[in-house]
Symmetry: C2
Subunit: 401 residues, 2 copies
Amino acid sequence: MNILVLGGDGYCGWATALYLSAKGHTVFTVDNFVRRQWDHELGVQTLTPIRTLAERLKAWGDLTGKNIELLVGDVTDYDFLASAIETSQPDAVIHFAEQRSAPYSMIDRKHAVSTQVNNVVGTLNLLFAIRELRPDCHLIKLGTMGEYGTPNIDIEEGYIEIEHNGRKDVLPFPKQPPSFYHLSKVHDSHNILFACKIWNLRATDLNQGVVYGTLTDEVELDEALINRFDYDEVFGTVLNRFCAQAAVGHPLTVYGKGGQTRGFLDIRDTVRCIEIACLNPAARGECQFTEQFSVLELARLVQAAARKMGMSVEIDFLPPPRVEAESHYYNAKHSKLIDLGLEPYHLSDSLLDSLMNVAIKYSDRIDSSLFLPQVEWRNPRNQRRQGSRSLAAVSSGESIV
Amino acid sequence: MNILVLGGDGYCGWATALYLSAKGHTVFTVDNFVRRQWDHELGVQTLTPIRTLAERLKAWGDLTGKNIELLVGDVTDYDFLASAIETSQPDAVIHFAEQRSAPYSMIDRKHAVSTQVNNVVGTLNLLFAIRELRPDCHLIKLGTMGEYGTPNIDIEEGYIEIEHNGRKDVLPFPKQPPSFYHLSKVHDSHNILFACKIWNLRATDLNQGVVYGTLTDEVELDEALINRFDYDEVFGTVLNRFCAQAAVGHPLTVYGKGGQTRGFLDIRDTVRCIEIACLNPAARGECQFTEQFSVLELARLVQAAARKMGMSVEIDFLPPPRVEAESHYYNAKHSKLIDLGLEPYHLSDSLLDSLMNVAIKYSDRIDSSLFLPQVEWRNPRNQRRQGSRSLAAVSSGESIV
């Protein structure tokens, strides 16, 4: 298949582009490198020293003989996006080209607005471009389990049958997103559902759990192909932060009681899920994750893995910066991809070792000041640059890069 | 109360600003006049010859001794919006400052994007401005019953209790909006709900039915105060179009079978609902309409009213330009405002006479070519300016204004 990966320089996009290329698909990728700009803005950097996308793609070509064509531009620029569709003639488009951090969207009004405009306009442009130029192309849009919030009933995959006053209908599962970022994904999902209905487009809206892990078979081929490992408070996810904290002997920082429970997915399963979706274009509104854990359970898993490696790690409980339930019911259904043949990886000690090993390998690049939350849901205000923290991080970044 | 009406030059905003001023509130109003610009773009005009907002406000002051202050600017410009909040120190903000036409949002990609960006960014700005500058102020946001689509179960007022696998929760009622405009309102509703939750803001999200009628007690005081009457295919609502068609002996144009059923609300009830909301700031997520009719029922009511006035009117059935069910279940709850004391007007023959009389009074301004749908949900493409229709309308508009 011809597959166009939007956002191929990002964490999921990079792993996905390589996996699909290795599987023999003709892969094109689009990026505008704004994700790297956000690192500069925040004074943070990936723990792993990733190369430029051009270098990484050249290394992939040299190692495997497979070419991934790079198209540089912004999906909110319709003329560019249309030219990318014309150039790649895709059978499937994988859409990762969105601002994906909840804390980033909560920094202040400008970040909330830019997140929603970027994500909503990019997806609208893509829907119109597919309709106009490539109507049989299958859109695979990455959403998040976070769209559903934490309802007190089981989360169904996309839709729920409601019986009410003696009548029945199957309706979209109600959404209760917990940040302006998550809201942007809900907006996208509603726009996609409508476009599919009126234009008969084919789209799969994948609501993934929190993705973890750095290594995939492709990325492991060479150091030049290494993927991002974000551990800062804005773009880092909780498991990455815990592993980085363990690697430098910092206490694991749990917010509130740590009962916040989410679905998790190994990045090796992310890339496989996406190929399954490409090969099964009828599916719609799926939930993708393989296991669910509370934050405290994750902290205890990291603590246990560190102990096996001879390290002693404490757990600190901090006031929660987000407005969220510290303990709640959580049970989300996720059988469709298993039915389509996915055999999931599990968050086992060995994975923790591997995540931990990456953290330890690059521990001289860890800036502990990046662990602590600066974005405050209740009081969104951009005062990041006023502290000495960011300056220190920027200068340490400069000395290493 | 100090009340700030955003979008005071529009159809609902104008009637609301006058009503609240007459009731003794201190009213400020904001507008950027983009609604008038859209008439120029489309080559259409209101049936009634409305004056400029400055002239209308002066006439209101001269007639009643009551001053409504006008602040000219755009709510997507945060600095302007913040200054308007500072100036007016509102106890309540009524937010009508959105692009409100479903067909307009379906013209093409640019109109879809501009509708969603305008509406979402304006509402985000307002939420941040209230939080920052006037946190006790009550936001009254106008939504639409159209957000719910036409589910096969009864539509509850904002929320529904769902029992599922032996557990229960009260969740937002699922939305199935039928245009990019309706989607923008759904995006707004989700953003508002979240902002209220994390910042303890006070907001009432009023999902109104289709508003009809031109005259209110205030508007009737003087010809200089007359309100808009849109009958064109983009901004006109179905009842207005039927009355204008009846007034010039044109067949009433019903799309498909005419079974499309919606809730309807007299503009005199709209303005009273808004004052009730102002005085009862706890309410949230209400549905406002007083009666529901199918399009064919409306056509028959107009036909019967015309017959009483000695006019014979036909009904034409045209292919539906929208992607929607031509007949469906529709039952929406709407008791909360009745509980708060609203005694609704009903869509009676007398009202049709009054709407019809306005249409007949200004029938020399009616351009019959504006009745027919040019926006096509299945094929959004801006070719309006290529036909002779728009040119004729523009020149007829110029000769009259």
